[in-house]
Assembly symmetry: C2
Homo-oligomer: 290 residues x 2
Amino acid sequence: MILDGNKISLEIKNEIKELVSKRVNERKKIPHLAAIIVGNDGASLTYVGSKVRACDYVGFKSTLIRLDDSISEKLLLDNINSLNNNNEIDGFIVQLPLPKSINEEKVLLAIDPKKDVDGFHPTNFGRMALEMESFIPATPYGIIELLERYNIETSGKNCVVIGRSNIVGRPISILLSQKSDRGNSTVILTHSRTKNLEFFTKRADIIVSALGIPEFLKSEMVKEDAVIIDVGITRVIDKTKEKGYVIKGDVDFLNVSKKASAITPVPGGVGPMTISMLLKNTLLACQRKD
Amino acid sequence: MILDGNKISLEIKNEIKELVSKRVNERKKIPHLAAIIVGNDGASLTYVGSKVRACDYVGFKSTLIRLDDSISEKLLLDNINSLNNNNEIDGFIVQLPLPKSINEEKVLLAIDPKKDVDGFHPTNFGRMALEMESFIPATPYGIIELLERYNIETSGKNCVVIGRSNIVGRPISILLSQKSDRGNSTVILTHSRTKNLEFFTKRADIIVSALGIPEFLKSEMVKEDAVIIDVGITRVIDKTKEKGYVIKGDVDFLNVSKKASAITPVPGGVGPMTISMLLKNTLLACQRKD
């Protein structure tokens, strides 16, 4: 079975769209997402562009704040502060990466946790880990939602997470092992220092790979009927394509898909889910103020 | 090898004591820990008593605030607020459990994270998970310190954590898997929903058990030369003893110790470490204001 991120993502957006029009009818506040982008990085502009378009689609208001990459840290922090204090804005994100002259940690810490719809602020991360109300970062949230919508059982399953990043590996390892409907897995968090990774992946019921090495996970490394979640997105040069590259996941899809009981493609798997979950967080931020 | 928590704990206290007398000579602020205790629970009074005595030993100032168990949540929060605003107090703890009429989460959230030397506030938890400056909760911090002082390698080791509580299992699973000197383990977080726990424990280089079932971990469940950290503390009725009970850990010490390369006894293992780490956090809180 292919876990179709495009389809599920659209399903979620349509649900949100409906909730927004209900809010309009009830004269409740329309969710409003703001995004700060510093500089002219092509990929970042593309990402932010899709976020704005997604807001339009579901009926959210959106505000895009473009800042020059020569901006001082102080001025960026002033911009964040004014979004913190602006009641019209329910949630906002600061698109990463930032110019090297700016301290990323300082910037993330300046965001009001109640508006931190990316869920990157330590207060949200801690609240998530301690099972309090929070914003779950979009990528792990999207994975949980995908498992949920395809009704994939996680309780009591052996789940191997590959990669321990703060935005994917670490939070998904926490969520999958929590006492919750899409949790209760025995989670094995693996990383660059793990010895004999194959020993673990071969015995895993569910594998979440967030490594960033194209086609790393081969068919011999997974067991029959495993569930495979591929979070990798790497551009691989391919002169035969118009763009000059193709997007590859961490998984050797052609071969692993023959063995897996369920698998996310790349592109079209976890990727599209992240924007929908950002919208969901923004809606939550707005609802929490009702 | 026995991992002697009493010995290491004393070693740490003596180091802190020395640092405090250095601070006295340099006319720097003397660390000051406050503890709030609500009601007359015997075990809680004993714990808080040892914390105060430990402060005396290392030369910290300490303040014990005893409140009646009929106190309102509002009044307890007022007490917390006044400690938050009191510059003389570097760190404080609210001894748990609290009376049922009081919302524990609300109380923990009221503590200024900068003074939260128990490390239970989500902001500290998140900062710890995201590898920022924080207060690490005393028990997992004590485990890391014990491994450190006995020079037990964790990098690349297979480490099984039994139990996913917010104060032990969850944080130690995070710390041991982080990219750090006493981290870099492949961590398997197991819990009540884990199937075939023995499969994992038998293959573990390091086992941290924080389950609370006396003598649960048997010799057949561990491999030769494993490192065993026993966090369990359960009172088991024993009429032959003066107190009427004995303290038992999660590990069948008599038999497991014959196989293990290193093991913590109960009592005298992880337990005594926690008070020393609370002192260390209080010293840190004070130093951060220097």
